[in-house]
């Protein structure tokens, strides 16, 4: 499993707690699907910080960075400087 796939798998596993009967695709908009509301926004931030050991800065809190598995994975890659940054969006 490469780095991006591993990151996305962890994100998917976390997000799967919010919905049991939907197989979330990497590019799907979780806000549009209604799975994540504003109550859970900081929970998502806490997950990303703890799971990937990064500090989400104020500038990172654009909802677009948390809109999909792919977007979150991209944020993690940028924050960690991992090769996944170059992977397709």
């Amino acid at each position: 499993m490469d780095h991006t796939t591993d990151t996305q798998a962890k994100i998917k596993e976390f997000l799967s707690r919010f919905f049991k009967s939907h197989d979330l695709k990497p590019e799907e908009d979780i806000f549009a699907l209604g799975f994540v509301n504003s109550l859970l926004a900081m929970q998502l931030v806490a997950f990303v910080e703890k799971e990937f050991g990064i500090q989400v800065e104020d500038a990172d809190l654009d909802l677009d960075n948390f809109r999909s598995i792919q977007a979150i994975s991209g944020l993690v890659a940028r924050k960690t400087g991992s090769p996944a940054q170059a992977s397709p969006a």
Partner: protein, 383 residues
């Protein structure tokens, strides 16, 4: 989850317990009647590092861990819910600035907040906005690129607003796509800000509530806290979690105070030839208090432990702790008055104050009903 307190945590609890027993609890009824926590007591809190206690030592704080903070708050809450509410709102302001503040605002305000040299307050509620935080009517208008902001509106029920130096103000920023809830810092001496005391509150009467009239208050750009539009989703969410933890732990303390008072009274007072506690219906009420306090304390410890480890489940568990502890405290206080009978309805005993304060705990930092709506929305990976 480790349920054993460390030596340092026990030391914080024991120190706070001794302080509250000597300096807070004996005076709380008087402060309640006078509707004010005195400045001398705030000086003592400041000297002990109880204001801004979560901030690290390098900023001037006490650097308490989350469990120790909860134990401190429980002890303060045992003595006086109004004093506890000062810690609650001050630390909510601290946490918001620490996490979301502009570097210049952090540098300017955090050391002063850590020392308690200035007091912070949380200004979200308005005459027409309470539980629905998205509906605030206070506006923030940008003065243009590089410029500051102009705040206009009214805030109500601002705890310790009568003496706070720095307000965390929730406002709406109008944009093409609608309004965006955003948070700002407003200093007390800002021209256009008028602070009016609110008196005659049912509970936490000494918490110096105020109404804020904000008329075209100009503030610098660095006083914006968090991104535009993040006011509810991130800043309020994060800050209210801190507040809920504080209120939950304070509710445990209030429940303990109800238990202590009720047990003492039921042991000393005799009716029908035996102590009250020998009557089974009285004993049942005290048993409910014992079990309720213990259960709420465990929920608070779990929430504190999750918060300390920055676990994503901390938000949901803190809500659960706040919900249970505040409901428990309200029942315990109601039963405490019942056990005290007519004495419980007089000013000679503190349980009437406990009941009035407990009611407030079911309303602030997300009402009982808001918790009941919100808690099931979180996934509980494990129980």
């Amino acid at each position: 989850m480790n349920l054993e307190l460390t030596a340092e945590q026990r030391a914080v609890r024991d120190e706070a317990r001794a302080f509250v027993t000597a300096e807070v609890a004996p005076h709380a009824d008087r402060w309640d009647r006078e509707e004010a926590v005195p400045g001398e007591l705030i000086d003592q809190l400041r000297a002990r590092g109880y204001l801004g206690s979560l901030l690290p030592a390098e900023l001037g704080g006490r650097g308490l861990d989350m469990i120790s903070y909860g134990l401190l708050t429980e002890e303060i809450g045992r003595g006086c819910s109004s004093v506890r509410s000062l810690l609650t709102v001050h630390d909510m302001a601290v946490r918001a600035i620490e996490r979301f503040g502009d570097p210049a605002a952090k540098e300017r305000f955090l050391p002063a907040l850590a020392r308690g040299a200035i007091l912070g307050a949380f200004a979200l509620s308005e005459p027409n906005a309470g539980s629905d935080a998205n509906s605030v009517e206070t506006t923030a208008v940008s003065e243009g690129d590089g410029g500051g902001w102009v705040l206009t509106g009214r805030k109500k029920w601002t705890t310790f607003g009568q003496i706070a130096d720095l307000f965390l103000v929730f406002a709406r920023v109008e944009s093409a796509g609608g309004y965006q809830p955003t948070v700002f810092l407003l200093e007390r001496d800002t021209p256009g800000l008028t602070v009016r005391p609110l008196r005659g509150i049912t509970g936490t009467r000494a918490s110096l509530l105020a109404e804020l009239e904000i008329e075209g208050c100009r503030i610098p750009a660095a006083h914006r806290v968090g991104r535009i539009g993040s006011g509810v989703s991130h800043v309020a969410s994060y800050t209210l979690e801190q507040g809920r933890y504080s209120v939950a732990c304070g509710a445990v303390g209030l429940g303990q105070a109800c238990l202590d008072a009720s047990f003492a009274y039921a042991t000393e007072r005799h009716q029908f030839g035996v102590p009250l506690i020998r009557h089974q219906l009285v004993s049942a009420m005290i048993t409910d208090m014992i079990v309720g306090v213990r259960a709420a304390r465990l929920l608070c410890l779990r929430a504190g432990w999750l918060r300390a480890s920055r676990d994503p489940a901390a938000g949901a568990e803190t809500m659960a702790a706040k919900y249970f502890a505040s409901v428990m405290a309200a029942k315990a206080a109601n039963d405490a008055v019942q056990i005290h009978g007519a004495n419980g309805c007089s000013e000679e005993f503190p349980v009437g104050r406990y009941l009035r304060d407990a009611k407030v705990l079911e309303i602030i930092e997300g009402s009982t009903q808001i918790q009941q709506i919100s808690i099931p929305r979180f996934p509980f990976a494990e129980l």
